[in-house]
Amino acid sequence: MTGTISKLLAVILLIFVCSCRNSNTGHVGIGFPAADSLPAGEVAELSYEAVTDIVQNMASPVEISSILQEMQIPFTAEYLAPTQESDRLTSNFQKAVMLGIYGADLGYLNIYGKTGNSVEVLSTIKKLADGLGVGRYFDFETLRRLSVNKSNLDSLLFMSVNSYNQIDEFLRENDRASVSALMIAGIWIEGQYLATQVALVHPDRILTDRIGEQKMILGDLLMLLRPYRESSAEYNSLCNMMEGINKAYHDVHISYRLGEPETAEQDGRLVMVQHEESIVEMNVSQLEEIAGVSEEVRNKLISDR
């Protein structure tokens, strides 16, 4: 009897181990996943799955913050989502969305070098990541040390962004794409909130263009979220809210002007300047409407706890 149980245990463990490993080719030394590898000749039009991949590849929690910093916009702590009561988040839906929102906030803090203030956000992120079973991709201790010491901002930025990239990848590879989509939506809405709030106070052409261009990205984000909308009332509500933002973008237009690129070698590096141009047509009242709806959605998400 004991022998049978032991055999059964071994078989279960074997199945567990095999199912947990990615189907990569065997390798020695430094190994990377071989996902998405295909012969060049076979690359064709983008399928729906490929579009989904696109959206999953788009979110960087630091991009908007970098633009704001370059514009010399002062740091404003009021824009950050409060971390109090994050212990009360119970559902995976809430945890995933807030993980994204705090990820964007962490990027904002790090880009502005406000690393001393980021420990509380880091701690909250760690708890949420643990709650979603992805805490091992978030090296809290190292991130905390880098934040407190303020010694190596490049490493801190790399580690924090890389943590999110790994969490996203892990979720998608383990049939939890719906959770990954929520995290990406959280990152996007917080970045959108930050950009629109700043644009209302500090009007700037580059920033308003960036907000207008989000029309494209939002369209893809909706494609990512919609398949899960019937999975829960919360998901349905989120889709409705995001569609509300999309509606506010209806009359924003993006056109293109053709141009030939220039390529030159500079300091041993190949540099290309693109002269084809995208042009955003968005007026002040459209911006205000988009900012208003985005703020409403973001505040609803952070208060639903």
Partner: protein, 146 residues
Amino acid sequence: MKCRFMIISVILVFLPFITTGQPAAEEFVSNCVLAAGNNTTYLKDFRVQLPKAGPDATAPVYKANMYLMKNIKYRFSVCETPESAGELIITIYDQNKELICSLDKSTGKKYNSIDFVCNKTGLYTLWYDFLNGEQGSGVGVVYMIK
């Protein structure tokens, strides 16, 4: 008998952690990322592992899509692992049209990084492959240049 099964079970549990080489990969990526120089902000990395091309087959390629934004200067750098037989090449496509490649096909010169001053926001495709269809692994890193 029971003992043997228990030993096998323990080995099976720890096998994936022994063989993945994950910390080494992370260190390799981190070193590549941090070699970009000043005035860059890391955005994303793509970890590539490709087999050698077959005798009559086209070279395997790793492709990734990414939104690039107007008025941003991007840097795309590549690093190969020491075990790679070939050099890693990046080519950027805009809607199936090749924009720039880290290998100058006319001279054969290969660049470890390329800068792209983007003026058109949109979805671009990054193709990574190894020179002459060799096998290899490496990482492609995308930065914003401040």
